[in-house]
């Protein structure tokens, strides 16, 4: 994971990716909703951090390792493919947590129950980094992975961020991880306690995505 960090630290596009949610959320929240209750405005920006880092960081990164076959150099150095992928996921997960914490801090959104907020941030962070991982595992090139990740990131951010304006589609979108994440973050910040249905559904997403990633990894190992 140390080398993931070094590789990451020298990749300017990734710094931009980390900087954007923090900066943008700060500026927009200050300009448009400075006095609004935090649990109404902050969740969508935390979601922005989750999808930006989770999806956009691990997808092209893993696709690059596969495209350039650097991962094979690790495998013949007695690392297992599963371990390499797990380390990448863990790295993206930690960055996701750090960026979420920054977004919460600059927007003074550590309201409600801290434990519930951290649990939600961790759970959603894990889900979205798995989304990125799965894209990276399925796309054969960095280019393709970047395009797929951008599209999915935008879709997730929009569905979660402006869920209320989707009208008739709302019942269908209600169980998307982005919507679930925003709802849970709002509940945590409002200090009302987390709804078990939302929590359960997001855990379900986590399990499903983890299973899909494992299936992909096994398929690749069986080539």
């Amino acid at each position: 994971m140390g080398h993931d960090w070094r590789d990451f630290s020298r990749n300017p596009t990734l710094w931009v990716m980390v900087g954007i949610p923090v900066l943008l959320s700060y500026l927009i929240v200050r300009a448009t909703a400075a006095g609004a209750p935090r649990h109404l405005v902050a969740p969508m920006w935390v979601l922005f951090a989750q999808v930006m880092v989770g999806v956009m960081l691990s997808a092209p990164d893993l696709a690059e390792e596969r495209e350039r076959r650097t991962v094979e150099a690790l495998v013949v150095s007695t690392a297992s493919y599963r371990e390499v992928v797990a380390a990448k996921w863990a790295f993206a997960f930690l960055v996701s947590l750090a960026v979420q914490a920054l977004v919460l801090t600059v927007n003074q959104a550590w309201t409600g129950g801290t434990a519930a907020l951290i649990a939600t941030a961790a759970l959603s962070g894990a889900v979205f980094t798995l989304v990125g991982l799965l894209i990276g595992l399925c796309c054969g090139s960095v280019r393709l992975a970047g395009a797929a990740a951008s599209a999915i990131m935008v879709a997730l951010f929009l569905t979660g961020g402006i869920f209320e304006s989707f009208g008739v589609l709302k019942p269908a979108l209600r169980y998307l991880p982005s919507v679930l994440s925003v709802r849970l973050l709002g509940q945590a910040m409002a200090g009302t306690g987390l709804q078990s249905l939302d929590l359960l559904c997001l855990v379900g997403w986590l399990a499903a995505l983890a299973a899909a990633s494992l299936v992909r990894i096994e398929a690749e190992l069986r080539r």
Binding site: D7, R68, T70, A73, V76, S77, T78, R223
Partner: protein, 282 residues
């Protein structure tokens, strides 16, 4: 050191490697020769456990590349066909990561750096290296843990002559240290120069397998005749040694008294290769 039996791989309906049966002994430099698409890389990838064979089996250093891949990796070093360094990491970091995975000491890494003359580029990022340097780093990385078997997939392809010579010198040095080398190449001279035995791959099959000298001797001989032409100029003719026409032609030339010298020569490995692969040189 490397044993395969009926080893083969299909990609859908394409037989990339048909059924390879081969033994490479300890300390041997084995050249895997063939035009592009012959199945060389596929063979290497099966031997290092990155591809599952469709049929047959293999043992490398006594281990099964599929079920005992970690053991195989502990005893083998690989230089891949694609130069897969971490572009944004420095040379030193590119070596440190596999070294840590392999449990190699700092001292061994320093030795590898010394041996491949990498001290001056250690702090340079891989993306700034020339192809020759890159290949040196890749070799150093493959040799960190002093493996008993080395797989080199076209290590000199696309290199300038100096860098290529340096890599060949290193391979020769490895031989003197008793390492087993499985070298993939489509450079005939290189194979001729370096390899104890070569296998000529063609369309997934082993078209020939022997020492370069034996292969060349088994190929048809050429008759080389120098004659003085009408204008006094010396002309060199090459004729197939065992063809009836050759004898007639030589008889006439002798009668005319223009023959200056007669010699025979064996085919070069490149000629043997193009005979076996229907002229398909790469």
């Amino acid at each position: 050191m490397i044993v395969t039996a009926g080893l083969g791989k299909d990609y859908g309906s394409l037989r990339a490697v048909d059924a390879l049966t081969l033994t490479v002994s300890e300390g041997e430099i084995f050249g895997c020769l063939g035009p592009n698409g012959a199945g060389k890389t596929t063979t290497v990838r099966m031997l290092i456990g990155l591809l599952r064979p469709s049929r047959g089996w293999a043992r490398v250093a006594g281990y099964d590349p599929i079920t005992q891949s970690r053991e195989v990796h502990r005893h083998t070093g690989v230089v891949f066909e694609t130069p897969n360094l971490y572009e944004r990491l420095t040379v030193s970091e590119n070596l440190a990561l596999p070294a840590r995975l392999l449990g190699v000491t700092r001292k061994s890494v320093d030795e590898a750096v010394e041996r491949f003359g990498l001290s001056e580029v250690l702090r340079r990022r891989a993306c700034h290296l020339s192809k020759g340097w890159r290949q040196r780093v890749l070799l150093a990385r493959a040799m960190l843990h002093r493996p008993r078997v080395l797989f080199l997939d076209e290590p000199t392809s696309g290199l300038d002559p100096n860098s290529a010579r340096m890599i060949r010198d290193i391979i020769r040095e490895l031989r003197s240290e008793g390492a087993t080398v499985f070298l993939t190449t489509h450079d005939m001279h290189e194979a001729d120069e370096l390899c104890d035995r070569v296998g000529i791959f063609y369309r997934g099959q082993l078209a020939a397998l022997d020492a370069p000298a034996v292969l060349k001797a088994a190929g048809k001989k050429q008759l080389v005749v120098e004659v003085r032409g009408g204008d006094g100029e010396v002309k060199r003719h090459e004729l197939p040694f065992d063809a009836p026409d050759t004898a007639d032609w030589l008889h006439e030339a002798m009668k005319a008294g223009v023959v200056l010298s007669v010699a025979t020569r064996h085919h070069t490995l490149a000629e043997v290769f193009s005979q076996l692969t229907g002229g398909e040189l790469s």
